[in-house]
């Protein structure tokens, strides 16, 4: 199963902002629900998300139990040099996910 779907433009103009979109596969279990036997299902939501561009953090987010399953994030980054955008996230269970996308600056 894929962890995430990322979308960045094929090429971006130097100095101009470009749109980054990511949808992460995650149950975002709130901790308020119970299973069929009435037992509480422990909270498991993505807590931190960071996007790095050429190694530098350019976007970070702190998520909480109010955010739906499979969170969708959309933000803008200014194009500097061609390089890698990397995305990393960690959830309550300690599981880490990552994804990356190449950016070509023209």
């Amino acid at each position: 199963m894929p962890d995430a779907r990322v979308n960045v433009p094929a090429s971006v103009a130097r100095g101009k902002p470009f749109e980054v979109r990511i949808i992460i596969r995650h149950p975002m279990e709130t901790g308020y629900r119970t299973d069929e036997s009435g037992k509480s299902i422990p909270r498991n939501v993505i807590r931190t998300f960071v996007c790095r561009y050429g190694g530098e953090p350019v976007f970070t987010a702190r998520l909480s139990s109010g955010i739906a399953a499979n969170p969708y994030l959309r933000f803008f980054v200014t194009a500097k040099e061609s390089g890698q955008l990397t995305f990393e996230w960690t959830d309550d269970s300690g599981a880490k996910g990552s994804e990356s996308a190449a950016v070509t600056v023209v």
Partner: protein, 260 residues
């Protein structure tokens, strides 16, 4: 243009069977996909393939399509090749009668292929894998009008499906037809009652926080009217799926749809 094509396709289907055309409770011009009864934000979510969470399942389904499985290490692609051509239009013809197995919906068809041809361990109904591969196969027919066969050996199942649809069920003593033919467009608490078409399934439902099959949706409706729910994969549910598909004949397939 698309609408014209759709209308022509439907007319062709109906012309082949004029007797059938008479029995539709909702004429073609009145058919409204469920997407027309949801809010603007849900519509936008379905329209944008990058925001539509259903595509997480389409993508994992594509991986499963190409993944070797079973005793002979064969994948779906080993026999069917490129799904974009070989599976185009297939989902619009399901549920469909099978000589050996009777009426099969798309999930059941894929499930049998996996067990009998691939000799692989079966996937349970509503399992992530079966939903993913079904969504992937259904997605190949997106935009094509539904067009199931209800004649010949499928006729009996169709009549059973129609009878189920028209019969009152459960503590609320309601039939599907009372809401979805008689009162669509009106309000049920905060919801607008849809016409009850299955053309978006497997669909991502916000209430489920995940993707689910048409059978799951039908079961949810039965739960809502406090009726007994046949187990997933039960023949009653497949019969109703056939009736629903015929009833929605001509509506374009939307899988993976997004619904509330």
């Amino acid at each position: 243009m698309l609408r014209t094509l759709r209308a022509v396709a439907v007319l062709a289907v109906l012309a082949a069977d004029p007797a059938t055309a008479q029995q539709h409770t909702l004429p073609l011009g009145e058919l409204r996909s469920g997407v027309e009864f949801v809010g603007a934000s849900v519509r936008a979510m379905q329209a944008d393939d990058l925001a539509n969470p259903g595509f997480l399942w389409v993508e994992s389904g594509e991986k499963l399509w190409n993944a070797p499985a079973g005793a002979q290490e064969r994948s779906c692609a080993s026999c069917h090749g490129d799904a974009r051509t070989s599976m185009r239009g297939v989902a619009t013809r399901y549920p469909r009668h099978d000589e050996a197995a009777g009426l099969l919906d798309l999930e059941a068809r894929i499930g049998r292929c996996r067990v009998e041809r691939q000799k692989a361990a079966p996937w349970a109904r509503e399992s992530d894998e079966l939903l993913a591969i079904t969504t992937f196969v259904a997605f190949q027919s997106r935009g094509l009008p539904l067009g199931v066969t209800i004649d010949g050996p499928a006729r009996a199942a169709f009549e059973r499906g129609r009878a189920f649809y028209e019969a009152r069920h459960g503590q609320m003593n309601l039939a599907c037809t009372q809401c979805h033919d008689g009162n669509w467009g009106k309000r049920l608490l905060n919801e607008t009652i849809s016409q009850g078409h299955g053309n978006a399934f497997p669909a991502y439902r916000l209430e489920w926080q995940g993707i689910g099959s048409l059978q799951r949706r039908i079961r949810a409706c039965l739960f809502g009217i406090r009726a007994e729910m046949p187990p997933p994969g039960a023949p009653e549910l497949t019969d109703v799926e056939l009736y629903l598909a015929w009833r929605a004949q001509g509506l374009p397939l939307e899988a993976p749809g997004v619904r509330r």
